[in-house]
Amino acid sequence: MTDPRRDARAGDTGAMFVRVAWRNLWRRRLRTWMSASGMGFAIFLVSVSMSFQAGSYDAWIETATSLMAGHLQAQHPAYFDNPEVRYALTEGIALTRRFENEPGIVAVSPRTEAFALVSAGERSFGALIVGVDRERDMALSSLPDHLSAGEYLPGADSAFLGTALAANLGVDIGDEIVVLGATGEGGVAALMARVDGLFDTGRPELDRSVLQVGIASMQAGFDLGDAVHRLVIETRDARHASDLKAILQAAAPMDVRLLDWNELLPELEQAIQIDRASASMMYWLLLIVVAMSVINAFIMTVFERTREFGMLLAIGMRPNAIVGMLGIEAVCVWAIGVVIGIVLCVAVVLPLSAIGIDVSGIEGMEQLAAQLMMPDRLYPSLNVNVLTESPLWMLAGTLLGALIPALRVRRMQPVEALREEE
């Protein structure tokens, strides 16, 4: 059982230590301000960089997921590893309606898929045939936004294909194409469509290999009934897609597997991890530099105040208590640094998160932006991670930096310490 009076005394002693530590900081005002400002500047730099990173990751994720994959998908359990026509969700339309009513979900679009041979005249090319519900897909996919000619699936027998595929097939708007594939049972699947629209995403692998048709037309041609291969889901926030996935998976039928964008687009997650890792190197270097300056400041402190510590030891203060008091001083410097860093960061990032930064003119960004289909404006993002990660790492560095010299106090002999000159 705890003794309230003892707890109160402990709290009282803690308050006294904080008061002493705080006042001690101002014995060397310049040094304190230098240390805190250095820390604040490092926190500012790291937090601002992280906010831009977070903003660019949001843009990467949004751009990549909105094109085809979505934030979440529901599939047959075997389809992700073995994308064969037979692994379909038989009650696709019913599931679509069910997911549409789940909180946190913005849009759901059912899709069918099959690899097939697309022919026009004498030419034939393999392509991924995607059957889509026009209205639902337009609500979550950015592919229709890349329309370069014609219209986006205006009729039941329309086809929407990449410009490179159209060029390979030698077709243009209004031309007929024939799709030949296999049904889930191994029979022949065939459908005819008219080229009503072309897209140009700037991604050659997509523009030369994807062809969209109406979902009803594809279900009929591939003998799928109501079955679909993917339910593509857009959530309110891609960052929370994994949490939502877990909730949906728990409530979903046994033959439905939920996948989030990290699983659907592992290369995107890897790109983010690699970028994070390379940026972390810089952050670490910065934090090490600041920790070194804290070590330096506290070495000076311990040397300058050796006699004072000798006196404290002589009157019966435990060495650990003195080390603790130095730790509190370090935390106070850190707290000032955090205030400086975070105030600066918020002051800079908050307006930029509203207006964005035009990155189109930045040398080297053009190619990267095209590859990642990034927007011209980058919006830095302030979130809890951005505002807490670098201060917490800095706290660890500061405490380490302060405790290394402070541990000298543990080895101090009171008599020797008392002999030290001020």
Binding site: R5, R6, A8, R9, D12, T13, M16, V20, R23, N24, W26, R27, R307, E308, M311, L312, L313, A314, I315, G316, M317, R318, P319, A321, Q413, P414, V415, L418
Partner: protein, 228 residues
């Protein structure tokens, strides 16, 4: 006969870290009765400060036995020595050694805080102690705003506020002028006589020796004479 507060038996302290070992104390025997005020006298290097330090548990003898208030302190762990100093011994240093960022009152309170005394009692005892030493007006002043004599009085207040069994003062007058030294010695005499505080003073100041009830003379780490 008064109870013994300190008993030293064949206490030696040798600094073997030097190229040639230095024998700061050689088989010193020393007793101190409750209520006594003894001055340890002798020239620089005679061992008076070393004796004061080993009695106060600030340093450990290399040989011998020291009993303070019934506790054998030789061989005690550092933490136990800290507790002994905190609860049984008050220190007054030549250079006052107050905490510069605390006021006089806070300096006196600080040691009570280390003892875990509650806020109200701490405040009351500290104010009473400053008052008893005639310096209540210094309560809110920081060391930098006080004279040497005033700081030394605050240091004495800090040393006695815990009601220690023993007050150790190492050259308490070394940085003070004659008039201030006299005032300080009056304070110590008053403490010794009216409150029965047992005091050991290491000094080479004849004025201090004149105030004490007994004088122990040391030379080359040995007690050479003892007298009233």
């Amino acid at each position: 006969m008064a109870e013994e507060v300190v008993t030293c038996r064949r206490v030696s302290r040798t600094y073997a870290e030097e190229a040639v070992p230095v024998h700061a104390l050689c088989r010193v025997d020393f007793e101190l009765a409750a209520g006594e005020w003894v001055s340890l006298a002798g020239p620089s290097g005679s061992g008076k400060s070393t004796l004061l330090h080993v009695i106060g548990g600030l340093d450990q003898p290399t040989e011998g036995s020291i009993v303070v208030d019934g506790v054998e302190i030789t061989g005690l762990a550092a933490a136990d020595l800290s507790d002994l100093r905190l609860h049984k011994i008050g220190f007054v240093f030549q250079a006052y050694n107050l905490i510069p960022v605390l006021s006089a009152l806070e300096n006196v309170e600080f040691i009570l805080q280390l003892q875990g005394v509650g806020r109200a009692e701490r405040r009351q005892r500290s104010l009473e102690t400053l008052d008893s030493l005639g310096i209540p007006e210094l309560a809110d002043r920081r060391p930098g705003e006080m004279s040497g004599g005033q700081q030394q009085r605050v240091a004495i207040a800090r040393a006695i506020v815990t009601n220690p069994v023993l007050l150790l003062a190492d050259e308490p007058s070394a940085n003070l002028d004659t008039a201030t030294t006299e005032e300080l010695l009056d304070v110590l005499r008053n403490l010794n006589r009216s409150r029965g505080v047992t005091i050991v003073t290491a000094t080479h100041d004849p004025m201090v020796m004149g105030y004490t009830s007994r004088q122990v003379n040391l030379r080359d780490g040995r007690v050479v004479t003892t007298g009233s």
